[in-house]
Subunit: 567 residues, 2 copies
């Protein structure tokens, strides 16, 4: 059913800083009832309360022609929290969202926990069935959804019994395929000041983020208020952000709560620059118009941006720092980024670690190195960031640290405040992931003598050929050094004699032409022959919504009807 | 008794980053035994462990011609922790220090808590009796003392029964007036890796800082590991510091643990630049030689620096940010700082709030204001910093927030993670300070419409004249605008008719000459007549070790034999 109600313009909620200051301290007192004077619970909610005082009239959010100040953002968040409560949302309930990087998705990160509820931000690229599964598994009581996405869930919506209320955000698309309340009207049901706030424990859950589910059903990763608060500070520090920063939303907010930048940007009073779609032309426009100083993305997204025709005339006239995650940046990408003046850092983490856990912390003395060496270092995942601290190891099967020789493979394990509380309603999976008292990432890495880690492969991606381990990432890196190659993926394929051998899927740069033989020869100049692909397939690579290559999809085709061993 | 043993040169403890990485994660695991996987205790000890990996070969400490890398600093700290344990220091014991801002004083901030003990860093300007009182009250088991300071305690040392061991630091002075172990020899008694680490609770005490005791006996302010960790991040953020920063030690480390920069500088991997004495000529030299990017001090210290002959030729060729605390900066000082290119921020806090709790967060739009207006804003104490959050209020006697009108006086109160755990062995004083669930600062302030606070007076300094409140700071600010005045202090003196009236103590700029009549006339152009001083005394002002004017000392003379009311 479609709705044709007229959307009222976004209402700027008048708020005086001085008033906000008193309100903020009241929220603080309510939050910390029964606590000793020297302890306040760590929660990212206090970041918004503070910034609504300190940066009351400063833009909190810019989205095309819309602008909200921090006082206005706080007003909207408080109204929304009240609206949720009126709609029957009780502390501990789950509230689900399906929306791109638009202001309501940001508001969710404060309003849902302010109402005492738990945010479930769902990946908008999932299928109807996958979304239905997550709604059912999380038992979400309310679903807030962008009208453009309603057709995806129209068929499954009646079957999801837990959802008592649908709220429709009308942004670019006004027509909804399902029945529901209008977001702006819904929001007006709350008061300018939501007072019924409580947080029994800082280790209570603030959000559940479902993994992409490359193997089996998606798992719900639980984040706590304390963890979210601390990693928000961590990611702000990673970028060197302050109140003059402008953060552009490229990484989806439904991915690890936007790597915790939903909270980190607000913490320092910087400005959120929202983007509905990551179209390269639009990104260049916004970077210049809104003086963007920071964004995060996968290397392929930056690569697409810098290989876009708009990049040719583009010259940066202010500092721009980018954090790259999901895969190591290639030497070509680092060169292209340096060319336009982008300072690109390599970070690493998983949904289970609130997004970024490590950073390839750059050392001044490396600046003088030639590009190839700089790229080699920058490909390393590096060290735990300040807030993740010291709880990072590379271990063998018996939880012993591997030697720091840059050669011995082990599994990356982490623990501490920047590790999830566990998988929602899945104690068995939690126990497996936490065996030995550490979270097992499933990533295989070496430890360099510098104390920096470098991931060689996903545990499940590693190729075992004639008893030798072959890192698919090592082979991919070699192939990517070929000037005609834009990106590639290497997987294991079955082989009569060796068990498994590498096979490469390659996507070439526009206008380039290279053959299978040439790629294999190029590889053989760099790697032991047994590591080189025995076959090369050309064409675009299948990607996830976050820009990661879907290796499992490629692999499934190759292994159809046969069983890949499980590590 | 003096000691003449030959001091061995400071030993650089060899440490490989890779090895440190494994050691760091071991410390982490030991620290968090019995904790769930998703929680690590917050303690500044992890900052050093991490920086010893990430910045292993980077200078952690520069002191004249000495330099330690982070790996070396960690090695020395671990040895020292082991030495304390061998000397009988058990978890929970107190270890006292009497030392200026030299490397051993910094090492204490990690080695003492690593040994599970509690650091008591004592103000080196105190009298023998005051020091003896603190040693006795804290029941310190060990006293580590700079040889130059030994004569002060030689007479009282035998009476302090709790101290079982004296350790003598031989820096500029080698002769000691008391018997004790040599610091460098003592340190070598420990191992390169101290393993016996435990921390039952992150809210356990890490240090006790004794207040200056302007009224009554000094009180021992207890800091926790959690609070120290969080305010370390707070003060690093205040300064926008990162691993390229060089922090010069001007604020004494015995003052609120150096406003928590002892831990904050290490957290971000910046370099500590130690200074034994804050001699202006030396400071200029060090600022240039070691490319100092940050320091903290009282306004009078910066004023002395900028009025020193060396300032004339001084031109800053790199960014330098200074945080001023203890008193608001005068317009003249702000002008002088801007002239040499120093970015001076005004912060505020007390021993009870780990040092900085608020900052006059500067807003871009204020840059265009004329100096007088900028100075007026910068004199405000401002807003809670990110880590102190929202727990700041100005309240009346019934704990109601005063109106944000910039006029109504109230008391500044705070709570939360950046407030002390309480006064050591003084539950009565703790209860009084924490009445109503908030820490009472004793400072009287107004709340501006912007949400920024501005302190008008200490509760005990306010002048009540004919029933009217007169803020001594308001009168001082008016007098300081006179071009001949360097600094001044205004106090209440008894008066037959009005009860109290203001009296000014003024120190003039070098070579200037102004009379009592002229100062009073100057004041009358700016303030209501009843607020103007009835008498002016010229001469240098008595100061505390931290550069604060000792008003109580001036007042005592004026009130000798009479009783000043107690608010």
């Amino acid at each position: 059913m479609s709705s044709t109600s007229v959307t009222p313009p976004l209402k700027a909620v008048a708020s005086q800083a001085s008033h906000a200051s008193v309100q903020a301290s009241l929220i603080d007192e309510r939050l910390n009832q029964q606590m000793p004077v020297h302890i306040s619970k760590l929660t990212p909610l206090t970041f918004l309360e503070r910034s609504a005082v300190v940066f009351a009239d400063k833009p909190a959010v810019i989205y095309d022609d819309q602008k909200f100040t921090y006082a206005e953002l706080r007003g909207r968040v408080h109204r929304l929290a009240g609206a949720f409560r009126r709609a029957g949302v009780q502390p501990g309930d789950r509230v689900a969202y399906l929306a791109p990087n638009i202001p309501p998705m940001l508001e969710a990160h404060y309003a849902v926990p302010l109402a005492g509820a738990i945010l479930v931000a769902i990946n908008i690229r999932l299928s109807s069935a996958e979304i239905a599964y997550i709604l059912e598994h999380s038992e979400a009581k309310v679903l807030v959804i962008d009208a453009e996405l309603t057709p995806v869930i129209a068929s499954v919506a009646p079957d999801v019994k837990s959802v008592k209320k649908f709220v429709i955000i009308r942004d670019t698309v006004k027509e909804s395929a399902i029945d529901g309340a209008d977001y702006e009207e819904f929001l007006q049901m709350g008061e300018d000041q939501f007072d019924d706030y409580s947080l029994p424990d800082e280790n209570d859950v603030i959000s559940v983020n479902y993994t992409s589910g490359t193997t089996g059903r998606p798992k719900g990763v639980m984040y706590t208020h304390r963890g979210a608060y601390l990693n928000a500070l961590g990611v702000a520090e990673l970028m060197g952000m302050d109140c003059n920063s402008h953060y552009m939303w490229v990484v989806p907010m439904f991915h690890c709560n936007g790597w915790c930048y939903t909270w980190g940007v607000t913490a320092v009073g910087a400005t959120h620059v929202c983007l509905r779609k990551t179209d390269p032309g639009k990104m260049f426009h916004v970077i210049q118009r809104d003086r963007v100083t920071n964004f995060c993305c996968a290397p392929t997204v930056l690569s697409t941006l810098l290989n876009h025709p708009s990049a040719r005339e583009f010259r940066l006239d202010h500092p721009l720092r980018v954090c790259l995650g999901g895969a190591p940046p290639s030497p070509a990408l680092i060169r292209e980024a340096e060319h336009v003046g982008i300072d690109a850092a390599h970070i690493y983490g998983l949904t289970e670690t609130y997004g970024p856990f490590t950073v390839c912390q750059w050392r001044e003395e490396w600046n003088a190195n030639p590009l190839a060496e700089r790229a080699q270092i920058k490909a390393q995942q590096g060290v735990a960031h300040i807030l993740s601290g010291t709880a990072l190891r590379v271990v063998d099967g018996d939880m012993r640290d591997v030697p720091a020789d840059g050669q011995t493979l082990g599994e990356v394990v982490m623990r501490g405040n920047i590790v999830m509380k566990g998988y929602f309603k899945d104690p068995a999976a939690t126990e497996t992931a936490f065996r030995g008292g550490w979270f097992h990432s499933g990533d295989l890495a070496v430890m360099h003598a510098t104390g920096y880690i470098e991931i060689r492969d996903r545990k499940k991606d590693i190729i075992i050929s004639g008893g030798e381990n072959i890192s698919t990432q090592e082979v991919e890196k070699a192939i990517c050094e070929h000037p005609d190659v834009m990106e590639c993926a290497v997987i294991a394929v079955p082989h009569e004699k060796w068990g498994e051998v590498p096979k490469a899927y390659v996507s070439l740069r526009p206008g380039r032409n290279t053959g299978e033989r040439e790629i294999i020869e190029f590889c053989r100049q760099k790697l032991a022959h047994f590591k080189c692909p025995q076959a090369v397939v050309f064409g675009p690579l299948p990607k996830t919504s976050t820009g990661k290559v879907k290796k499992f999809e490629i692999r499934e085709k190759e292994w159809a009807g046969r069983e890949k061993r499980v590590n």
